[in-house]
């Protein structure tokens, strides 16, 4: 072993000793999940300024509100502006968001006007209950609800409740942290969307069907943030109905990191009730 190598190892040992008192807080995973859910929430309170976009035109058919295609030209700047206008006008609606993962999915309901949200996670993965002998092998089962999070408050001052349906526990917390730059831009927020467009570029892919809807397919290259975001906006309402995010770079996965489907719901008592979260009385408070 060289003198440098020996010295380096001694330095490493010393650094490990000196950081032995640095320990992560328990419940960090729940904190991270709660923070993840804030992505759906944190940016939806903003009111955006008009978009000043000047992009190359792409000829597409624009559907009218009545659903009958009208042969006129639209370009990406026009669709962008309509989308931002639609987002700003939909603040009183309840947004339902479904995000699919390999092992499950999550559902989020958001009410921007009262700054409330609720997130439910579902998974086929089963949390270890302490009786598993091999904790390195994922245990799977039927799709089940694993965790729910409900939050209220402005970014930097969010109070939330977490219910763990597997461990039958619940907890409350207050989050005053500021979300770091560099995360996936929230395409439901007009300001964030405009910023992401300004930082990168947006292209029109063309008209596509998503489920039973006619949509405009847009592609946002958020290059500074390292993401490519594909966005499908309803051809009639211009509200987003689907979003996929792909990581750019050498370690980019072959498929989207996230696929989010959005439904814009009326402000009814039934839909507002989706935001409520109360732990069952027999659950243990952490």
């Amino acid at each position: 072993m060289s003198a440098d190598e020996e010295f380096g190892r001694a330095v490493g040992d010393a650094l490990r000793r000196e950081t032995a008192d640095v320990r992560a807080e328990p419940g960090l995973a729940a904190e991270v999940r709660a923070r993840g859910s804030r992505r759906a929430w944190k940016l939806r309170t903003a009111i955006g300024a008009p978009l000043t976009a000047a992009a190359a035109a792409a000829a597409v058919l624009v559907a009218t509100a009545g659903g009958t295609p009208e042969p006129r030209f639209a370009n990406v700047a026009q669709v962008q502006e309509q989308t931002l206008r639609a987002l700003r006008s939909a603040q009183n609606q309840i947004i339902h968001e479904r995000t699919d993962y390999d092992s499950g999915y999550s559902e989020t309901w958001t009410d921007r006007s009262t700054r409330r949200y609720r997130l439910d996670n579902y998974s086929t993965l089963v949390q270890p209950d302490g009786t598993d002998t091999d904790t390195r092998t994922p245990r799977t089962g039927p799709m089940h609800r694993t965790q729910s999070i409900a939050g209220v408050g402005a970014p930097g001052d969010v109070r939330y409740t977490v219910v763990d349906w597997e461990l039958r526990t619940w907890s409350t917390n207050h989050d005053d942290s500021i979300v770091l730059e560099g995360e996936v831009p929230d395409i439901l927020d007009p300001d964030a969307l405009r910023t992401a467009i300004d930082e990168g570029r947006m292209e029109m892919i063309g008209p596509e069907r998503v489920g039973d809807r006619d949509t405009h397919h847009l592609r946002l290259f958020a290059t500074r943030r390292g993401y490519q975001i594909d966005l499908w906006v309803d051809a009639a309402t211009y509200l987003p109905v689907r979003e996929t995010s792909i990581v750019l770079g050498e370690d980019a996965p072959a498929k989207p990191v996230m696929t989010n489907d959005y439904t814009w719901l009326p402000r009814s008592a039934e839909n507002l009730a989706k935001l409520d979260l109360v732990a069952p009385p027999d659950f243990t408070r952490r």
Partner: protein, 175 residues
């Protein structure tokens, strides 16, 4: 393989936090970076679960780089001294001052790249090639940064030994 994201966090978050702390030199920033790195890991769990720690560490290193650069706190690179062999050796004695975190403080004085290679090579025990892959540079670059970093650490720790105050404090701490 970890059974779940939560289990991974429970098992490895302290190690990741220590790495982040050494990279940033600030506990609060370290906690913030670890949360952000774990959040990205959670979003990519389907892919990251095969090697979540490696993925999270990569994110962590990149985030620490971005954070330090954004704050303009990056110390300037120092040229490699012409006669490395002529520098004072403090290897045998520096461990006497370990309780005062002087090595951590000396590490924080290093330029970012040098700090990264020291943490990854000697705290995380990654090989030169693994470190190079994680940092996106060549093995030769890692070796060069390692040499510079250790040379600078020797200087910094030697300065500590040369300080009468420091030596007295060290003696007091060890008593």
């Amino acid at each position: 393989m970890f059974a779940s994201f939560d289990e991974f966090v429970e098992d490895r978050s302290t190690a990741l936090l220590r790495t982040a702390f050494l990279l940033t030199g600030d506990r609060g920033h370290a906690e913030d970076l670890v949360q952000t790195a774990l959040l990205r890991t959670l979003r990519r769990w389907s892919r990251a679960r095969a090697a979540p720690e490696a993925y999270t560490r990569r994110v962590l290193v990149n985030l620490a780089k971005d954070r330090i650069r954004a704050r303009g706190r990056r110390p300037p690179e120092t040229p490699l001294p012409p006669d490395v062999a002529g520098l004072r050796e403090v290897d045998a004695g520096y461990d006497r001052v370990a309780d005062r975190k002087v090595v951590t403080e000396a590490l924080a004085e290093l330029p970012l790249r040098q700090r990264q290679v020291v943490v990854l090579r000697f705290v995380e025990d990654l090989s030169v090639d693994q470190t190079a892959a994680l940092l996106g540079c060549t093995s030769g670059t890692v070796k060069s940064y390692t040499t510079r970093a250790l040379t600078r650490l020797r200087e910094l720790l030697a300065d500590f030994h040369d300080s009468p105050v420091a030596m007295k404090e060290t003696t007091d701490v060890r008593r």
